[in-house]
């Protein structure tokens, strides 16, 4: 799989570290733990998923115990705590989306990618997941993908159709 390796030495790049420090400064003295979610987002963008060494590094950065990071990372669904493909396709499976064909889209993706929900394609390019309501119900069906950008960015792809998906796979998620 691509990008699943955790480097020997886990450390933010100087730019990311600066960003993390800016984030920590948003919270009062002694409340640096508040920065945990935003810093985990930074870490996930840097390493694609949150391995235990990555979480330990974040704990050190915020002067908290590693278990405090594990507790949080496992609570929130956006954090990948197992290796994932380069693109994690997270399709909304909640009621309003289903009223507009989300289940068909999920089936289509399973067939197209040749992997079930929860699985990763053999080339390591895609992990297919389902998520709960993304607040895009009016533009259903919808999926979100994190594109590796400077500080991480999640894009919603809305009003999905099989043709749109074919097109995205061919041209955008490469």
């Amino acid at each position: 799989m691509t990008e699943v390796n955790t480097p020997e030495k886990v450390e933010f790049s100087p730019e990311t570290l600066k960003k993390a420090q800016e984030i920590i400064a948003r919270y009062p003295e002694g409340r640096q733990k508040s920065a945990l979610l935003p810093v985990l987002h930074l870490a996930q963008n840097e390493w694609n998923w949150l391995s235990a060494p990555v979480m330990d590094y974040v704990a050190g950065l915020l002067s908290i115990q590693p278990i405090e990071v594990y507790e949080v990372a496992t609570f929130y669904t956006m954090f990948q705590i197992e290796p994932v493909g380069k693109y994690v396709l997270e399709v909304c499976r909640t009621g309003p989306c289903c009223l507009r064909g989300a289940e068909n889209i999920i089936d289509y993706l399973e067939n197209k990618l040749g992997t079930k929900v929860g699985g990763t394609t053999t080339d390591g390019l895609f992990t297919l997941k389902t998520v709960e309501c993304l607040a895009a119900c009016g533009f259903a069906p919808v999926l979100q993908v994190r594109l590796k950008k400077e500080d991480g960015n999640y894009i919603y792809y809305e009003n999905l159709t099989p043709e749109k998906i074919d097109n995205l796979i061919a041209t955008e998620w490469v």
């Binding site: 948003r26 009062p28 409340r31 733990k33 508040s34 920065a35 945990l36 979610l37 935003p38 985990l40 987002h41 915020l62 908290i64 405090e68 507790e71 949080v72 609570f75 929130y76 669904t77 956006m78 954090f79 499976r93 909640t94 009621g95 309003p96 289903c98 009223l99 507009r100 998520v131 709960e132 309501c133 993304l134 607040a135 895009a136 119900c137 009016g138 533009f139 259903a140 979100q144 991480g152 960015n153 999640y154 894009i155 919603y156």
Partner: protein
């Protein structure tokens, strides 16, 4: 055409740049509030406006503000709830995406009214693109001296930050949100103490929805009395409604409270009627948590009165024949939709989103989901229906936070109004599990 106070200028041009926003009178409320009003006077105006919380519970905003404790030597916080995760609800996202300064302006005047010098906007992490928009807009506001030290020479200081969530519906519950903002798991707190006394970092805190905060600028500019003239009765002002499901024009609409449900649902200006010429089967009027209504109780109340988009009219008849305005997530079901399947889907959502602290919600949501899954997949028993009703009842009212209620209500209401559909599923498992097969009352009873 109803009055618009939050979205009036959206669509005229890109309102994200601060200059564009200011062209339409943006930030006049900050100037007015900080240079000519006392914090108490602002709270008074908001009280007069009758504005009610737009996050779902409808609690009067001015009253909430007046409960804020003001002990010496402790900072106070305003936290904006932009977690927006209730299925069917996508209105806050619309406002923040298209007019981020409307929220920021509201944050400044509200923070000033509450005496907060640091405020946070908690945005669900999935909406990273909204976070980027807000961060950019906040930087512009700092550059214009609308944030930071000594704003507009008033001596008032305010720092405003955006905080991303990590993917958890429960963090929309205000105390879970505060825990999350402190870098913890989103476990709701037992209340009391209420955030107004002990909130963020154990300091007095107000948590308000995006739309509630955004509305305060207009109230400052035009006065609480003017705001109270909009709407109907105790449902003052306008409300953003996010409409979705099987309708012709899904999207976000700002309506004056008191608009009839019929007009909202069928007029081309709003939902534009049921898509594909189908018939209406059911409606969830205020986000997945509120009771579902069958077609015959949607446009008219049980008494035959016209049903209106207002807190009071939607809840007319109590849970027996009414529902709630909730967060304004308007989900429309056409005749081809299966109520059992949707109830299972919604229950799966609550099961998935329960934080797991308290036993009735942790265990009860999973139990209900499994039973509903069985019924939907052709393995139900008649006694399952009463079991579901009883389990829902044992959860409702007995949990730490209202997620338990939110999980119980969809189940209770679906069985209340569509019991025959559940029975049909149980009695006809092979037909019910055939792809595309839906129970139609006419077919069975006509």
């Amino acid at each position: 055409m109803g009055i618009k106070i939050l979205t009036e200028h959206i669509g005229k041009e890109d309102l994200k740049p601060i200059d564009a926003y200011m062209k339409y009178g943006g930030y006049t409320a900050v100037k007015k509030a900080l240079t000519s009003m006392s914090p108490d006077a602002i709270v008074e105006e908001v009280k007069k406006s009758g504005l009610r919380g737009r996050g779902g519970a409808g609690f009067p905003t001015g009253m909430k503000w007046s409960f804020l404790a003001k002990p010496e030597g402790k900072p106070r916080y305003l936290v904006c709830n932009a977690d927006e995760s209730e299925p069917g609800t996508f209105k806050d996202r619309y406002l923040m995406m298209h007019s981020p300064h409307t929220l920021i302006e509201g944050m400044i005047v509200s923070s000033f009214a509450l005496g907060a010098n640091t405020s946070y906007i908690y945005v669900r992490g999935e909406m990273m693109f909204v976070i980027r928009i807000l961060e950019k807009a906040i930087a512009e506001a700092y550059a214009k001296g609308l944030l930071g030290k000594n704003i507009l020479g008033s001596g008032y200081n305010l720092d405003l930050y955006v905080h991303p969530g990590g993917g958890a519906y429960i963090c929309g519950e205000e105390t879970a949100l505060l825990e999350s903002l402190e870098g913890k798991r989103g476990n709701p707190r037992n209340k009391p103490p209420f955030p107004a006394v002990s909130g963020l970092y154990a300091c007095p805190t107000v948590v308000n929805n995006v739309e509630s905060i955004a509305a305060t600028s207009w109230i400052i500019n035009n006065g609480g009395d003017e705001y109270a003239k909009i709407g109907i009765g105790k449902s003052t002002g306008t409300k953003l409604i996010s409409a979705c499901g099987n309708i012709n024009n899904p999207g976000v609409y700002e309506i004056e409270l008191g608009l009839s449900v019929e007009e909202f649902l069928y007029s081309d200006q709003y939902c534009g009627g049921i898509a594909n010429g189908k018939k209406l089967k059911a409606l969830v009027a205020g986000g997945s948590s509120v009771p579902i209504l069958p077609a015959n109780l949607i446009t008219k109340t049980a008494n035959g009165e016209s049903r209106l988009m207002s807190y009071e009219s939607l809840s007319d008849g109590g849970f027996a024949t009414g529902t709630m305005l909730g967060s304004g997530g308007f989900i429309v079901f056409d005749e081809d939709q299966c109520i059992v399947r949707n109830t299972w889907n919604f229950t799966r959502f609550y099961h998935h989103e329960s934080c797991g602290q308290c036993s009735p919600c942790r265990e009860g949501t999973g139990w209900m989901e499994k039973v509903l899954h069985r019924i939907e997949h052709g393995h139900g028993h008649m006694h399952d229906i009463d079991l579901l009703v009883d389990v829902a009842k044992k959860i409702e009212g007995n949990t730490i936070c209202p997620l338990g209620d939110a999980a119980a209500w969809p189940v209770g209401s679906a069985i209340r109004h569509f019991r025959d559909e559940f029975e049909w599923h149980i009695k006809n498992p092979s037909e019910a599990t055939r792809k595309g097969a839906v129970y139609r009352k006419e077919a069975v009873f006509a």
